[in-house]
């Protein structure tokens, strides 16, 4: 067995070197956000696999199969709850992880490529969440589906082609739901898993978590691989237990079944897209739904290229790097303000 399983050759050991600089592994430096993102994606992945055995991706049965999972299947409500809350925690952890990297300048070379991978993972996470929201096939999900996919049609020249490529049909219906199911459980999962693995591998290749350059003559502190495992286990256990309690106290939401014939009174986008919904009330669809999000993404992606060198590496809120921090803070404030505006509308 030991010959079959040689731990020093496993990816687990590859990601956990014998010694890790203590300054990069401090809780108050990373808050374990990357790890929490990975853990929550694993929880979501595993519970998602369980859900595929019961979920039926057809307009007639999708919602009913969720009710069955929720109310009849043993531990179904817990599975679905963990899937839902795991996904919310994942979105939150990925976003906060991104903010942490900006506010500590962790994207500085040689990590700028991994930064782009990270931004791509954020996009995958958001689309993953959106497609999952649609699979609920309740009244809110259906209208979000309709609005979300119709935004694609706003893209000049290629809008219709992109719509048909992603929705796989000329209009919303059984085909579209099946397509989104395919994207959710397969397309995005492959991209997400590959992206996370590559992101982690790249992290090691780039020399591990960013940290301040040592002053001359300073002794460098390290923590052992065992200590890292230990910290990861403690964090994972506490986050997992918290997820379970959130799940039991706040069951995953499920509205009434989507009715394609009925009108709709007041539908709210999933919380991560509330700002788009509010922007749609202010700007034309092409600007609100396509250009603005792409502009924000482009701006975030460009940060490591705007802020390449100089002092302040791996230091929280370093004054020398105030520009990228102000850019991100401004983006965050605008998005939060728009979301709050939509909630209080």
């Amino acid at each position: 067995m030991s010959r079959f399983w040689r731990k020093e050759k496993s990816i687990i050991y590859a990601l956990h070197p014998e010694k890790i600089p203590a300054s990069g592994a401090r809780l108050t430096y990373t808050f374990g956000l990357g790890g929490i993102a990975v853990l929550s994606s694993l929880v979501t992945l595993l519970t998602g696999v369980a859900l595929t055995f019961y979920y039926v991706p057809t307009p007639g049965d999708a919602h009913a199969s969720l009710i069955l999972i929720q109310d009849v299947v043993s531990f179904g409500a817990v599975m679905r709850g963990l899937h839902y809350w795991g996904a919310q925690v994942m979105v939150l952890a990925v976003t906060l992880h991104l903010a942490r990297v900006v506010f500590t300048g962790g994207y500085r070379p040689p990590r700028e490529f991994n930064w782009l991978i990270g931004v791509a993972l954020l996009v995958i996470t958001l689309v993953w969440d959106f497609t999952g929201y649609v699979l609920r096939w309740d009244d809110g999900a259906y209208w979000a589906f309709l609005v979300g996919t119709n935004l694609l049609r706003e893209i000049p020249a290629w809008g219709d082609a992109i719509y048909r490529a992603i929705v796989g049909d000329v209009q919303i219906g059984a085909n579209a739901l099946l397509r989104f199911y395919g994207w959710h459980i397969f397309g995005l999962t492959v991209a997400g898993v590959f992206g996370v693995v590559y992101h982690l591998w790249r992290l090691r290749k780039d020399g591990g978590i960013s940290r301040p350059l040592p002053d001359e003559g300073e002794t460098r502190e390290f923590i052992s691989r065992d200590e890292l495992f230990f910290r990861e286990f403690i964090t994972a256990a506490l986050v997992s237990a918290t997820l379970v309690f959130i799940t039991l106290i706040f069951p995953a939401p499920l509205g009434t079944a989507a009715n394609l014939d009925a009108g709709v009174s007041d539908v709210r986008a999933p919380w991560i897209f509330l700002w788009v919904q509010n922007l749609l009330r202010i700007l034309p669809p092409l600007w609100a739904g396509i250009i603005a999000p792409l502009f924000i993404l482009a701006l975030i992606s460009a940060l490591p290229f705007l802020d390449r060198r100089g002092p302040g590496r791996a230091i929280w809120f370093a004054r020398e790097r105030w520009k990228p921090q102000v850019i991100l803070a401004a983006i965050a404030l605008v998005l939060i303000a728009l979301s709050v505006r939509e909630v209080w509308r």
């Binding site: 502190e221 390290f222 200590e227 506490l238 379970v244």
Partner: protein, 489 residues
């Protein structure tokens, strides 16, 4: 386990002191203990949650009832033959009564009438999409539940489309009451019906009204103090089938829509069935989850005999000679005289058959539920007179022969649970409007008998012909009969 080292100076434990937590929390095994405990606690919480679902609680509560055989706590499935789709409603509503013999749950299930989510076991989720809340026969949804095609709607024979008919009936529109009150106060120039509680129309009708406008047009902009604004109270509750009673109270409990008549409430409004989800001590529930065509007089009296509108104030005044407190139930009620005193209006006179029989024994379905025409008053809609069954000094009641087992009268006898009373070839009484009264038949040239719809008790129906009555048959109405035959209270 080594937790922290310093390069070039292995084993130096001096850095251990740099903690962000109290000292005891920094001890690794403390964290291990906390994390392990959290995981264990989470696992136990999942297990506890799985065995403490609300539906399990309802079955447990069902089992605590003294008069039931305890059942295992498990999910119960009903697969109605009509839909073939499983429903889990009976998991929580275990012990609920079949709604009626002609609507067996095994055939129809629950969802075909109630709507809702058949596979949900969570109360809110299961009930969210229910039709008409607790009452699928509410007139706002009756067409989708009771009035579905091949149920009580969609037939070429209008008589079978009860829901269509009832929507236009005076019971639903309250057209007569509205017209007369408005006329009395000068709000309209004649007592012709112009408004209903809801707007209805019948373009095929010649007389008396093709359509009634909705009175609730005033509800959107009530002018304070005007008559029409006051009449909005008719829309808010209390009057007729579209509405639920404004102030449910003893003797006056009822449902709305079809259930207003067919779903029997006890005078105290308490449920007496086996469904543990319905509180036994909460007034406002039917006696049991049951529809009936054998409607007892007490059900009609929940609306028709508890008081009057005060025309000045437009408020409903309950009879002050009765105390609205718990009294014996209607089932135990018909002791000679008590019913007359306790239920019936002090100002009116009643003949013996009027308080010994039930209302439905004389008043037909077409009177109560309408015949599809829009009537402007109760007087126009109601036509059964004493002479319908008793004849006049010169004539016998009109009769007709039952010709086939599929005839409406035969079907009504079956639905009412008295199939044995009637057979093909029997002579039954026929009303002025041509309906066959299935419950009154001729058994000899001068002998008629009636079966009570509720109890099945048989009564002789005396004829006026051959009696000492000296009324002129041509002008004879029930008012004349009451002059001699009313019981003095």
């Amino acid at each position: 386990m080594k937790h922290k080292g310093v390069e070039g100076n292995k084993g130096n434990e001096g850095t251990e002191g740099k903690t962000e937590f109290p000292q005891f929390l920094y001890f690794p095994s403390t964290w291990l203990f906390i994390a392990g405990f959290a995981l264990l606690f989470a696992a136990l919480a999942i297990a506890w949650n799985e065995s403490h679902q609300p539906w399990q609680g309802w079955i447990a509560r069902y089992n605590t009832q003294s008069d039931v055989t305890p059942v295992p706590i498990e999910i119960r499935t009903l697969v109605p033959t009509q839909t073939g789709k499983p429903e889990l409603c009976v998991t929580c509503h275990i012990g609920i009564e079949d709604i009626s013999a002609s609507h067996p749950a095994e055939t129809f299930g629950c969802v075909v009438c109630h709507g809702g989510q058949p596979l949900a076991l969570d109360k809110d989720r299961a009930h969210t999409t229910m039709r008409g809340g607790r009452n699928p026969s509410d007139l706002s949804v009756a067409a989708q539940s009771c009035g579905q095609a091949n149920c009580h709607g969609g037939y070429t024979d209008a008589e079978r489309n009860h829901v269509d008919r009832v929507l236009k009936s005076v019971q639903a529109t309250y057209a007569g009451g509205v017209a007369h009150v408005r006329f009395s106060f000068g709000a309209q120039k004649s007592p012709t019906a112009l408004f209903g509680i809801r707007a209805v129309s019948d373009p095929t009708q010649v007389l008396p009204s093709k359509e009634l406008r909705s009175l609730d047009m005033f509800a959107t902009n009530p002018v304070s103090g005007t008559l029409d604004a006051k009449m909005v109270s008719c829309l808010d509750g209390g009057c007729h089938l579209w509405t639920t009673p404004a102030k449910p109270q003893a003797y006056a409990y009822r449902s709305s829509g079809c259930a207003a008549c067919h779903y029997v409430y006890a005078d105290d409004g308490l449920y007496r069935g086996k469904d543990a989800t319905i509180a036994r001590d909460e007034p406002g529930h039917g006696v049991a989850h049951q529809l009936t065509t054998a409607i007892p007089f007490s059900q009609c009296n929940h609306c028709h005999n508890r008081g009057n509108y005060d025309l000045k104030s437009m408020t409903f005044d309950l009879r002050d000679d009765l105390s609205p407190v718990a009294r014996p139930l209607s089932a135990q009620m018909p002791l000679e005289g008590r019913r007359l005193l306790e239920y019936y209006q002090p100002i009116a006179d009643f003949t013996k058959c009027e308080y010994e029989l039930n209302c439905v024994d004389c008043h037909t379905a077409q009177e109560a539920m309408g015949n599809g025409r829009i009537y402007g008053s109760k007087k126009d809609a109601q036509y059964i007179q004493c002479q319908t069954c008793h004849g006049t000094p010169t004539t016998k009641p009109q009769t007709a022969t039952i010709r086939s087992a599929n005839e409406l009268a035969m079907r009504q006898a079956r639905i009412n649970g008295h199939a044995e009373f009637l057979k093909v070839g029997d002579q039954v009484i026929v009303t002025e409007r041509g309906e066959l009264l299935w419950s009154i038949k001729q058994i000899a040239p001068n002998k008629f008998v009636q079966t009570e719809k509720v109890s099945g008790k048989i009564h002789n129906v005396p004829l006026v012909q051959g009696s000492k009555c000296t009324q002129d048959g041509k002008t004879q109405t029930s008012d004349y009969c009451h002059e001699c035959h009313a019981v003095v209270r």
